[in-house]
Amino acid sequence: MSALGILCANAWREQVRGRFFSVTLIFGGLMLYMSVLLGMLASDQEVRVLLDFGLSFIDVLAAAAVTFAAATGLVREMETKTLYLILSRPVPRSVYLLGRYLGLLLSALTAVLAMAVVHVSILLFKGWHWEAGYLLALAGVGLKLAVTAAVATLLTMISTSVLSALCLTGISWMLGHFVFEIRFMATQALAGASAKALYVMAYVVPNLQLFNFRDRLGIPDATGGGVSFLFALSYCLVYSAACLGGAWGIFRRREF
């Protein structure tokens, strides 16, 4: 196995043995509890409400877990001296960074899959009929995770502490869902430097709304078929590569 494969597998194993599966268990418990409660409140629309709650929970929990793991991973490897052990061998820093990123992403996707299994089981139990849009929504969550993990890796390199990396990633995740509103604010009521700053922000923050297929479920001609998904995938690849490239640019100059 190549160095990249070993690093990726190790990162995946480390995460799966740790917090990712605890998150999945918490999610499963929450879902079961909410399915009972919401069933009483939403009456005829129980399935729709469960579908939306579940997909949103999967999205938020996986993003929180991936952000936390990306922001703390490097610091922990420095504290445990694992990083020095790896870098003292003929492993390029770019391979180390990419291996960690891929392992992290893979473990996040494993968690998403586990949560989706619980979610789909509850939905089917409640009389939901399978629809392909669900897979598209999950794929969108996966693409969002890829971008979020890359952004978190870059911000960990830039920031001086774990806490600031966590906060900055969290803010960029929120703003990423807010790009239309940012553009709207820039066109309304604001002028001059503030409007320009908002326009720039709308372009710099990751456009996570592009991957938000779960919010476009059931909208005629708007859920996006192959073309829209391929476009979202292309954006995800370019943006993630740019963030990882930036992280590598900083990491290669860092003295340990």
Binding site: L38, G39, L41, A42, S43, D44, Q45, E46, R48, V49, D52, F53, S56, V60, G127, I158, M174, H177, F178, V179, F180, E181, R183, F184, Q188, A202, Y203, V204, P206, N207, L208, Q209, L210, N212, R214, D215, R216, L217, G218, I219, P220, A222, G224, S228, F231, Y235, V238, Y239, A241, A242, C243, G245, G246, W248, G249, I250, R253
Partner: protein, 233 residues
């Protein structure tokens, strides 16, 4: 950031964003068109800003169902103070039902059920067909070809003219669809009973018994008993 690698990466990210932003589908109304009220504003705006329009609409819909399922405060207050004037409906006035449905619609304009639910309640239960029609007009702005909305418009029109037979005929398609609000089926079944359409009423009450909304089950059972029909098929 400094150095050619970081510069190239930033340029790539910006280029990707510049291409992606205009092509991102955003089928929801702009924030200025959101109908927020103080008690729900923070939760709804937060969910919308996190890209959870559907979830925000779901929560607003649950509030609508709870509102219409609870005793009406306005009616209670009027009953306690009869000198202020009579109330319109024995079960309550529910003057906020239209605005609440419009709130759901502003969060997710493609959420069909709350429109059918609120328009049905307004037109056939609360006898405010004009409010029902304005709600349907708002919903049709987003989905002009929605046949259920169009059927509703016809049915409300006939009900307004005092022609329940034709109103029921207009609603036939909606009543047959699996996602028809149980509340509408209940109203339609009652209209059938009054018009002497026993078989149609029995069919509707049996459909009500199969629905998720258990609030309507006891009445459906009672009506089936009155019509001399067993609950099962």
């Amino acid at each position: 950031m400094r150095g050619p690698v970081e510069g190239a990466c930033l340029a790539a990210a910006l280029a990707a964003a510049a291409v992606a932003l205009p092509r991102t589908p955003h089928p929801f109304p702009p924030p200025s068109q959101l109908r927020l009220v103080p008690e729900e504003a923070v939760a709804s705006a937060s969910l919308v800003s996190l890209g959870m329009h559907r979830l925000a609409a779901d929560l607003a819909f649950i509030r609508l169902v709870v509102y219409y399922g609870s005793p009406d405060r306005d009616a209670r207050e009027q009953a306690e103070h009869p000198e202020e004037g009579p109330h319109d409906h024995a079960g309550g006035v529910y003057r906020d039902i239209g605005p609440r449905a419009l709130r759901v619609l502003s969060l997710d304009p493609y959420f069909e059920y709350p429109v059918l639910y609120a328009a049905g309640a307004l037109a056939f239960n609360l006898h405010r067909p004009d409010e029902a029609l304005s709600l349907l007009a708002e919903a049709l702005r987003y989905e002009p070809r929605n046949w259920k909305y169009l059927s509703y418009v016809g049915a409300v029109g006939f009900a307004k003219k005092g022609d329940p037979e034709r109103a029921l005929a207009e609603l036939a398609g909606v009543l047959a669809s699996p996602d028809c609000p149980t509340m509408l089926r209940s109203i339609a079944a009652f209209m059938c009973v009054r018009m002497g359409r026993r078989e149609q009423a029995i069919k509707l009450y049996r459909q009500i018994l199969e629905s998720r909304d258990e609030g309507y089950h006891p009445n459906a059972r009672r009506m089936l008993e009155r019509l001399g029909a067993p609950a099962g098929r």
